[in-house]
């Protein structure tokens, strides 16, 4: 009995000992690899991250290995990671939500390797997922859209109904409503991340409903091509898409991943990296997400309005999802004087008031 109790006590003691907390340390010279699920020149998501990779490479003076078209399947990704680790790579950056599980397993199998994953869900002693509060920039884009619209109807293309997409949609609508409370935001989900032909066709469907601004939450520039053809305002995503709609572009919501990647990877190398317990997740203040330069049709007045809102968001005075916030199909989500907590952001599965469209049922 005593033995048992002491064994129990020992166990308890071991459990209560602080985890060998502290910074992660590399055991060898830094060798960095980036793994992408498609080509890096997709004109959107991957291209934005690859720009960050190039900046890191230049800043640190290191060559960075790149693997493209590694499918979001556990076995395929793991094979790529194993190969890199065998060759001595010790900083591995994944670039998609679909890598989350397999990457987490690899991180546990290789504790001496630092893992990062963009828009992933797992974190650990040697792994950190990162994403940006994109809804803050979409709120600003919504202001630009509402200022440009005469018809009182703006449109947006989205991919799948997951939290990180839904908050873009709702942020955009909230921003537009801050200018025109009665404005209608028509949203269509394409149910794919990558189908440029369909995106163009869906844009036409929205424009046929009298929308005169169209924004895309996807990587292809098809929506901007369609807008340019019809003379409607256009808002791009992920990289500056102005080339696709030089006349009618309003702005693009863009990522500057080097603002995160460069200091973070430097920290790994100099031994000061401590992965965020819940992942790294910042917004406009970090510079990771921002607006691209405005198009020719955006007035000075609008620019000032957006700059003011941006300053307020950075200062914490303005919160896109501050109460009172009502869901379109349901009651009040956030009471006056409160803001939507982060965990509710990640599981956001509703439209705010003022959105037309159907959110496909979630899983």
């Amino acid at each position: 009995m005593i033995k048992l109790r002491s064994a129990f006590a020992t166990g308890l003691l071991a459990a209560s000992l602080p985890v060998a907390a502290g910074a992660f340390e590399l055991k060898s010279e830094p060798k960095i690899a980036f793994i992408y699920a498609s080509t890096v020149q997709d004109g959107g998501w991957n291209e934005a991250i690859d720009k960050g990779r190039a900046a890191v490479s230049e800043e640190l003076g290191l060559d960075i290995a790149v693997a493209e078209n590694i499918p979001e399947e556990a076995t395929r990704l793991r094979a790529a990671i194993d190969l890199y680790v065998q060759r001595g790579y010790n900083i591995i950056v994944g670039t998609t939500y679909g890598y989350s599980e397999a990457m987490y397993e690899a991180a546990q199998a290789y504790p001496d390797v630092a893992f990062f994953n963009a828009s992933g869900v797992h974190n650990g002693e040697n792994m950190e997922s990162f994403y940006a509060r994109t809804y803050e920039a979409w709120y600003l884009a919504g202001i630009a859209a509402a200022e440009a619209s005469d018809s009182g109807k703006i449109g947006m293309l989205a991919g799948f109904p997951v939290g990180v997409v839904n908050w873009d949609v709702n942020g955009f609508a909230r921003g537009a409503q801050s200018v025109e409370p009665g404005i209608d935001t028509t949203v269509v989900y394409t149910n794919s991340w990558w189908d440029p032909v369909k995106e163009g066709q869906v844009s036409e469907a929205i424009l046929d409903q009298n929308a005169d601004v169209i924004a895309t939450d996807l990587s292809a520039a098809s929506a901007l091509n369609a807008a340019e053809e019809r003379g409607a305002g256009a808002i791009g995503y992920q990289i500056d898409m102005s080339a696709a709609a030089p006349e009618n572009i309003l702005t693009s919501v863009v990522f500057n991943w080097d603002a995160y990647l460069t200091p973070r990877i430097k920290a790994v190398i100099d031994g000061s990296w401590e992965p965020e317990e819940w992942g790294w997740f910042e917004g406009l203040e970090s510079g990771v997400v921002d607006l691209a330069p405005f198009g020719p049709s955006v007035s000075e007045e609008t620019k000032t309005k957006i700059a003011d809102a941006k300053a307020q968001i950075i200062a914490g005075e303005l919160q896109p999802f501050a109460g009172p916030l009502k869901a379109r199909d349901g009651g009040e989500v956030v009471a006056a004087g409160e803001v939507l907590p982060d965990d509710a952001l990640w599981t956001m599965d509703f439209f705010v008031d003022g959105i037309t469209g159907t959110m496909p049922a979630g899983e």
Partner: protein, 306 residues
Amino acid sequence: MTDFFLAWLTVLPGYVLPLLLASLGVVLSERAGVLNLCPEGFMAVGAMTGALICLAGQGPWLGVLGGTAAGLGLSAVFGLAVVVFRVEQTLAGLATVALGLGITGVLGRSHVQKPFDGVPRLSETSWGAELPRVLGQQTLMLPLALLLLLLVAWFLTRSAAGLRLRAVGEDPGAADVAGVDVQIVQLGAVLTSGAFGGLAGAYLSVASAHVWVEGMVAGRGWVVIALVIFARWRPLRCLAAALLFGGTEALMPRLQALGVDFPVYLGAMLPYVLTLAVLALTSTRRGARSGAPAALGLSYLRQDKH
């Protein structure tokens, strides 16, 4: 309501024509007995080549022609493998798709996301400016595709060459005895299917999107394969099937934009569910003709030609 219907009708060809064109090619190839899983690859090279030619300033029609030729070129590789070297047709088809996607990834790399002037809409031509919108928004690809459809239907059912092609697909041995050169017929059918696939791909980039990006075929080639099974290898039924599949796809975003609660996942499933249903129905009726060519997928080897 009328407006909604007209707007839907206006965009319909954009959804239907690529499926129709590629499926006509698959019908020809499979009625000659060659199982053809290649359209995704044919369309990929067609889309890229068409766009590259347009970006080089050669004009959209040369782009369409070039895309067609690219599909034909890729099908020559497939034809060589399955008809001349008698490689297993499923594997060769999948390899051809991989080859097509790989080629476009490598060659098209520096040309992604560059808009160009594609095939003009009728309303943009000097004579079509006064057309109503539902016609004015179309391109000459619409009559071209319908013409090709009639041509293929006539060829298969009314011409002697079409009869020979069907004979090869049903019983290559008998056709051989009757003096038909099985390999030439199959090679011709495969090459034509490549040209149709390339044309369908060029439609996507040159007539529809006016831009090329990697992976823009986005699975349409696989839908085409299901579509041909659904249409029981008949050209005119391919039009009906393409209208059904494409029409639903065109309808979904429009209903969503109206705020109608439409089960989009069910809609996206439709082509496959219908195809499975047709497969199940035709295979349960014992002895009934399922519509599939009897020798589909079998390599033909004449006894004395070892």
